[in-house]
């Protein structure tokens, strides 16, 4: 008797638990541990308050680990994530694989036309949006106005690499712990290769030519890498070959760098007095140019961390509700209200750059918007792939990482520039022929 009562109440309990679980959808969201995402995670209660039937479960991982996890999961149909944070490299490839659900239910108030056109097209395939931009970035030259003044330099509106080399020499004061130039050296397709791939473009070279032949031994790559290694060895900080975005951010924030060319999102960190010791001494210029007669739109890269829904998710509707919230205008206002306008995720919506409250709080707004608007990753006659600082083919990830290692070897002096480029060319040719290019 007692036993059966117990069983009955246990059953009732389970039933209650089951119904409440049914009523509430739990979303598992995989994301990168970048500051803007961590802020989003912190604001989740606001979302859950507005949508009491949805609960959000965060999986926040370091970029490389996250990328490995989500790729394995989506390729094997593991179905572990309802929302994945991916970039402009993955979106075209994954959309083509039909791994992603098109985002067609973001709601009426979403105002898709407000998304910056370059970003929207980067995340679309056949006119359908496959990922919603959370924040986007291009490249900027950040420099120390005070150090430039002291050295009697003025940053031109469109700097050239000749000028940058001269400035790096003049600004460097190693005894005072000031290095003229800080650049990415940490190997990886999304680390040093993002910078170097773009620098090679500044000298007129791409990853592959129209016939998919790797270009690492071309004139442009040689000039770019030679200059890069030379500048970094003479005027760069120690340990440059293991410095990625984050390490340079740390160095620049401590006032140890004269110049730094990197993702535009860096601007909001180095101007934030809570994180930087030089918040009001930073100037912004476009990425430098290495060829005669710099083209008007300059050489910018484009990247957008975006939210997408894998096809294997069973909770697409709730997932779209979340994505719509996290990438909406209202979300930007929410962040502004809690953390100030300078901290809102940049680069995704035109209306943000028309908002005077934002442009006043963020001195880097104009330079960022300008760089993003002038980045066009589409294929061209001499560049068969989509992408600027990367090539959106599955093989690029491996090639970029292996070549990045060669560049780090050149930077650390354990290989010459010529050796490193020759190796890179060999690696890339080997991989491309294995993958069956030209396709």
């Amino acid at each position: 008797m007692r036993f059966s009562m117990l069983t009955a109440s246990a059953c009732a309990l389970i039933a209650v638990a089951a119904t409440s679980a049914e009523a509430q959808t739990t979303l598992t969201i995989g994301t990168v541990n970048n500051s803007d995402m961590i802020r989003m995670q912190g604001l989740t209660p606001e979302f859950e308050k507005a949508h009491p039937d949805i609960k959000v479960n965060w999986v926040t991982l370091e970029e490389n680990i996250l990328r490995q996890r989500v790729t394995t999961d989506i390729a094997t149909g593991g179905g572990q994530f309802d929302v994945m944070t991916i970039g402009t490299y993955e979106v075209p490839i994954w959309a083509k694989q039909e791994w992603l659900k098109p985002l067609d239910g973001l709601g009426d108030g979403y105002d898709m036309d407000d998304l910056i056109p370059a970003i929207r097209s980067a995340l679309s395939s056949d006119g359908k949006l496959y990922a919603a931009p959370f924040y986007a970035e291009s490249v900027l030259t950040l420099y120390r106005k005070d150090l430039f003044e002291k050295a009697g330099l003025t940053m031109p509106e469109k700097p050239t690499w000749d000028f940058i080399a001269e400035a790096a020499e003049k600004v460097t004061d190693k005894d005072a712990g000031i290095y003229g130039i800080c650049l990415r050296g940490k190997p990886g397709w999304g680390e040093n290769m993002a910078f170097l791939g773009n620098m090679a473009r500044e000298f007129g070279a791409n990853y592959f030519d129209a016939d998919w032949k790797p270009q690492f031994e071309s004139e442009g790559w040689k000039k770019a890498v030679t200059l890069y290694v030379d500048l970094m060895q003479k005027y760069g900080p120690p340990g440059a070959a293991s410095n990625g975005f984050n390490e340079n951010l740390q160095l620049f924030g401590q006032g140890k760098c004269g110049m730094w060319m990197d993702a535009s999102v860096a601007a909001s960190f180095v101007t934030d007095p809570k994180q930087s010791q030089v918040p009001d001494k930073v100037g912004f210029a476009p990425a430098p140019c290495g060829v005669e007669g710099c083209p008007n739109d300059g050489f910018n890269w484009l990247w957008a961390w975006s939210l997408a829904i894998p096809n294997s998710s069973q909770k697409a509707e709730a997932a779209q509700t979340f994505i719509s919230w996290a990438t909406s205008k209202e979300y930007l206002e929410l962040v502004a209200e809690k953390e100030g306008w300078a901290n809102v995720p940049p680069g995704t919506r035109t209306s943000l750059y028309e908002n005077s409250k934002y442009t006043e709080a963020a001195p880097f707004a104009e330079a960022t918007l300008n760089a993003i608007q002038h980045a066009d990753p589409s294929p061209t006659d001499d560049k068969p792939y989509y992408g600027l600082q990367f090539a959106a083919i599955p093989e690029f990830q491996g090639i970029g990482t292996a070549v990045g290692q060669q560049m780090a070897a050149a930077l650390s002096g354990s290989a010459t520039v010529d050796q490193a480029l020759k190796q890179s060319q060999a690696i890339a040719e080997r991989e491309m022929s294995r993958a069956g290019y030209p396709k």
């Binding site: 790729t71 190997p187 070959a241 293991s242 140890k256 093989e395 491996g398 060669q406 690696i427």
Partner: protein
Amino acid sequence: MATLHTKSAARAMMAPAVIVLLIWMIVPLAMTLYFSTLNYTLYNPISTPFIGFENYSYFLTDPTFLAALANTLILVLGVLAITVIGGILIALLLDQEFYGVNIVRLLVIAPFFVMPTVAALVWKNMMMNPVYGVIGQLLQAVGLAPIDWMTEVPLLSIVIIVAWQWLPFATLILLTALQSLSADQKEAAEMDGAGALSIFWYITLPHMSRAITVVILIQTIFLLSIYAEILVTTQGGPGSQSTNITYLVAQQATSYGDIGAASAGGIVAVVLANIVAIFLVRLIGKNLDA
């Protein structure tokens, strides 16, 4: 009759463990063998044509394969050398009488409890970073230039990190062995006028030989498959200076998404591990009269 009975009982008792391990070994191994003959990438999981040994020739002709092989050996031997020699010295030290033996013991064994990723992160950032790292600051304080560990001596850096993790294990086992050496034996030798060095050489060291064997065997098993420490610190670079076989295989799977090549690499690694195992058994197996 009784022995027969115990024999079959013994077999029955061993069976569950042996069977689950057999399944654990054979199922993934068979799948890996099968995948290693396919043109199978994560980006094309639907069409996976049979391509015979192409993945093997691709993996074995990888320009970094030989370097990775050499790095694996250096890594294993380097860590073994440091932990065995260091372990003996520290065990000898801890075997002495001094104030606070118990606390020093706790200090020495602590790294054994630290998870590999944490160990690697702490060493990379807080110890070995050329600007903020403690080692760099110490060097600068005495007027030397800081070393950029991860770039200038990547493999040595990893050897140091891994050796730090395994030193306590070696020390503990060697210390237990040392403490089982009877004081009488040593005293007798001392009476005979033997110096400290010859006591160590002729009495202590032979006594510890079995323990040394155990340390080498167990550590080699773990050291052959070092992965997390490389991933967190150098990612195999610069170039391929700190890529070991495990990391090379991992790269095929994670950065190329090439399951065929990774499987072939996995099989190659298994073969190499077995060669090492046979070698180990020949070399030191006798010492372990099982």
